[in-house]
Symmetry: C2
Subunit: 224 residues, 2 copies
């Protein structure tokens, strides 16, 4: 048990340090009028595909930058650059399963905040660790894809507590899966009364306009 | 930086302790003729659905038990008990994103090893942390579902290095997704020359017989 207790204590101190750093990141972003979205989901829920589609609309009205977190690879950054043309940066977490506020602080500083209105952070594909670490984001956006199933909020409650905007992706394949939209909304609302929901398909375009408008409005409200 | 270094040191010592405990678990299982499968995947890849289908066949020839790990919920254990009738136990990790050898050791001891041939451990849905912790299993079985995409081995390499048997699930929906079976096999073989592959659909039954036979043979070989 001793080593377990030691781990828990170190973890608590790491989380407290992280929260303080996240507040600094938030203040720095606000000062520079930059809105930061922390995009979280399971592996393969469609974060990169959604991003490409979102950015190609949002870049008409906003100066957008992307920070791609990966444990090892660079494929997503290359995809974003190639398909949207916006500024994209790769962050490697060296095996860690989340981004922390310190990594984000260093990345946004290198990015040059003066030239951007919106930065989207694509977190590691994971429903556990990223929920524990505040990145300093202005909005926590959580994706849940239809094939994952409508029971995920029961199994990964913290992620669905810290999320603010929930996007249900791959709605085009809903006929081939048991995915009850009302059921999943009910599970999330029990954890999180302020949650808002956007069912979309990046493939067919269904629901994308509503999501784009919601993000654009949030950024404009923030920059007032 | 100091707190980061402290975390890394504690983590290394935790992993070393875990490896030693895992070897003890493996010896105890071998002594009792119990084969342990560590089942790992992303959230929503279909672990529980596959388990129900697998167990209903395997229980004809083997005495099967299931250990369900979850951070919080009990839904999977209830599903397993209800749909297969085999012995199932719930393990809560209290927010941790993986199972360690100590938790497994306590669970198998409570289970009563003398009455079982095969124990299947359904790990937390996560492609990161469970790969780091040896559970003492006789076989690491990794699920990757078609909707997650064929690029996952590039992004979560450790999971695809420690896996031994790879099951591609939800093959029935392959026509609706870009999922290249040969490509994903190629990515895995680069990390792991000994990998074996089973494309299946628990829904249509496609490929299930081959997987059941492979597991049955592995258990029989182990018990010789």
């Amino acid at each position: 048990m001793e080593s377990n207790i030691r781990v828990i204590k170190v973890k608590q101190s790491v989380l407290a340090n992280n929260d303080a750093r996240a507040e600094k990141v938030r203040a720095k972003l606000k000062e520079n009028g930059v809105f930061l979205i922390n995009l979280m989901s399971s592996p393969g829920a469609g974060k990169t595909t959604l991003l490409v589609s979102l950015i190609n609309e949002l870049k008409k009205n906003l100066r957008v930058g992307v920070i791609e977190a990966d444990m090892d690879a660079v494929v997503d950054t290359e995809t974003i650059k190639e398909k949207t043309g916006v500024k994209a940066m790769q962050l490697h977490t060296s095996g860690e399963c989340h981004l922390d506020a310190k990594m984000v602080d260093e990345a946004i500083t290198e990015f040059g905040l003066g030239e951007l209105d919106l930065v989207i952070l694509e977190n590691i594909g994971n429903l556990v660790c990223p929920a524990e670490f505040d990145t300093g984001a202005s909005m926590n956006l959580v994706l849940l894809s239809v094939p994952e199933g409508d029971d995920k909020p029961l199994k990964y409650p913290l992620m669905f507590k810290v999320g603010e905007v929930f996007v249900f992706t791959k709605m085009d394949v809903a006929p081939y899966f048991d995915f009850d939209l009302e059921k999943v909304k009910g599970h999330i609302l029990k954890l999180n009364k302020e949650a808002s929901f956007y069912p979309v398909s990046a493939k067919t375009g269904e629901g994308m306009e509503e999501l784009e408008k919601a993000i654009l409005n949030a950024v404009r409200e923030y920059k007032k």
